[in-house]
């Protein structure tokens, strides 16, 4: 691999997105004083794995001269990620409201 190459850039960008996302989610959970329950952990880990797979497929497909495959990977893997994120968000919101009512 070349010392200076776009490949580095894309994977570093994915790393920043992942790291930044993790910090933001951690801070929000801390702020609202919520802890993840087991199925939320599973959803979180699963969506992270699919996000990684989607990012890798997206970037690698361009290097494979397959731009159509790159964009379709965003759709086919992005939709499950969004669905998992919605379920996770709704679950957290439900517990947050419940906790607020108790307090």
């Amino acid at each position: 691999m070349k010392l200076i190459s776009w490949v580095w850039f894309w994977y570093v960008l994915v790393g920043f997105l992942m790291g930044g996302g993790a910090v933001i989610i951690w801070n929000i959970l801390k702020k609202v004083k919520l802890k993840l329950v087991w199925y939320e952990w599973i959803l979180m880990i699963l969506s992270t794995v699919v996000f990684l797979l989607m990012s890798q497929t997206f970037i690698a497909s361009f290097y494979e001269f397959e731009p159509k495959a790159a964009w379709f990977s965003l759709i086919f893997m992005g939709i499950p990620i969004l669905l998992m994120a919605v379920v996770l968000f709704r679950s957290l919101k439900k517990r947050y409201i419940k906790n607020s009512e108790i307090n």
């Binding site: 776009w6 494979e64 001269f65 397959e66 731009p67």
Partner: protein, 488 residues
């Protein structure tokens, strides 16, 4: 035939990649000059009409990293007025006449021979018999006879005289070094051969023991006699192997998938066909390597031994596919040939494999649909066939009508390799998802139909933009020999 114009690949360069993402290099504040891996790929430029046009374009300029400067004078000082002109290679120290005292040359050469022999005898790592055999293979394995003229006439130099059976080349044997031939367990020998094969030019390697069954994969003209060493009488079309334990070394010779992003004509003319010359050079090297270890080697070119797909299947290098060609779990159908070399070096056999490929072919049929000549069978299940001179009976598979294929390819239409290009197993090795798909095919056949559909939806196997050729690229962006590093 109407499907022959269907797209089967698409191209995009790194610059296109960025454009499609809507991101300019300047937006990152990183400076295009620094991104040598990206700058000046030439993708997106109009194609050139001829070589002159290409050379006069900015693409003909070298793309150097910013820390490498072009200067008017080289960094070594040269006195052009007093520069002595060398007559030629005879000026070099490889010519004894270049030495003030030619005896010094021979003294040094004899010392070299003595130390080489001693190192082999002492089994010094890096200088042992197998290391020397590999060195000879890579040095002389190109098979040319002129090597004999250039080489010093030292003991061991040998020029073989039967190019269709034993390659004409130079090599040194264990006897020359005064040692026994290479000794190793079959497992050690197989591993050693696979390592040497990778260095010499084989993507992968498998081993088949010749028995009453597998001997049927050899050409019928090959016979066996109770002789210590095989021989050939090409003028009588007689090729004899010794009646002893023999193994077929089956070597996968890759071709360039990278070139197949361009027009099939270009890919064939400049890439696929080149694989044959690489195959023959590799075969020479392997033969020299085996004989350098003290063992026999026969065949080892693209024509002289037997059926490459049959041996490839038996060696577990792939499965028999719908197009009648080998489909490898790693390389798909993008294999130019499986080169067969027969040897008496004891080897651990590699068994046939089941990666779900033949099963997948039942459902997929993509090669058959995309074949412009209609040569590939569209029967769902494999069948007992054969009958034509070019179709051997005895295999329950899909029999390709090679005559249709050949007529299309050589009868005025562009050369073709669509069945290889469109195969869902023929993929670059960058995206991890391909391995997951192969995992599914190997373990969950019920998803095969969906996988085939997704292969189409994702655009795999679409036809390339035929106006684009490698001439448009920065030369340094072209992989060496056109071979894709990600799939080697």
């Amino acid at each position: 035939m109407g499907k022959s114009n269907k797209k089967y690949h698409s191209t995009v360069g790194r610059r296109d990649f960025m454009k499609k993402l809507g991101v300019g290099a300047g937006a990152f504040g990183l400076g295009a000059a620094g991104f040598t891996g990206f700058a000046g790929t030439g993708f997106g430029a109009d194609g050139f009409n001829d070589l002159d046009e290409m050379m006069s374009s900015p693409l003909a300029e070298r793309k150097l990293p910013f820390w490498v400067k072009e200067v008017d004078e080289p960094t070594v000082k040269i006195d052009w007025d007093n520069m002595e002109i060398f007559h030629g290679p005879e000026n070099t120290l490889f010519n004894p006449a270049s030495w003030e005292n030619p005896k010094d040359y021979f003294d040094i050469y004899n010392k070299n021979i003595a130390s080489t022999k001693k190192n082999v005898q002492d089994n010094v790592p890096g200088l042992s018999l197998k290391d020397r055999a590999l060195a000879d293979a890579n040095c002389w394995g190109w098979g040319g006879r002129s090597g004999a003229d250039l080489a010093p006439p030292w003991s061991g130099a040998d020029v073989k005289a039967n190019p269709k059976w034993e390659h004409p080349t130079m090599f040194y044997t264990p006897e020359d070094y005064g040692v026994e031939k290479h000794q190793g367990t079959p497992e050690e020998n197989s591993k050693m051969l696979r390592s040497a094969g990778r260095i010499m030019g084989a993507s992968d390697m498998g081993f088949v023991k010749l028995d009453e069954k597998t001997k049927k994969l050899l050409w019928g003209k090959i016979t066996f006699e109770d002789v210590e060493k095989g021989y050939a009488e090409p003028e009588n079309n007689k090729f004899v192997l010794p009646n002893k334990e023999l193994w077929a070394v089956c070597s996968v010779i890759p071709q360039s998938l990278w070139m197949q992003q361009y027009s099939e004509r270009m890919s064939w003319a400049s890439s696929n066909t080149m694989s044959y010359s690489r195959a023959n050079i590799y075969g020479n090297r392997l033969s020299v390597f085996l004989r350098g270890l003290g063992y026999q080697a026969y065949g080892g070119d693209t024509e002289s031994i037997g059926r490459s797909v049959g041996f490839g299947v038996m060696a577990g290098l792939g499965e028999y596919g719908r197009a009648g060609i080998l489909v490898s779990p790693k390389y798909g159908t993008d294999i130019r040939t499986v080169l067969i070399t027969i040897t008496d070096l004891p080897l651990a056999v590699t068994k046939p494999i089941d990666a779900g490929i033949t099963k997948f072919c039942e459902t997929c049929k993509k090669c058959g649909e995309m074949c412009p000549s209609g040569a590939i069978s569209m029967e769902e299940k494999p069948f007992w066939g054969g009958g034509a001179a070019y179709q051997a009976k005895g295999i329950k598979g899909w029999y390709m009508d090679a005559k249709k294929c050949y007529t299309y390819m050589l009868g005025g239409e562009p050369d073709c390799s669509r069945c290889q290009t469109v195969c869902p197993f023929t993929k670059f090795d960058e995206a991890v998802i391909h391995d997951l798909i192969k995992l599914s095919i190997g373990t969950t056949p019920m998803l095969n139909s969906a996988i085939r559909k997704m292969d189409d939806v994702f655009g795999y196997g679409e036809q390339p933009d035929l106006s684009k050729t490698p001439w448009d690229l920065d030369p340094m962006d072209i992989p060496l020999y056109g071979l894709d590093k990600s799939r080697s």
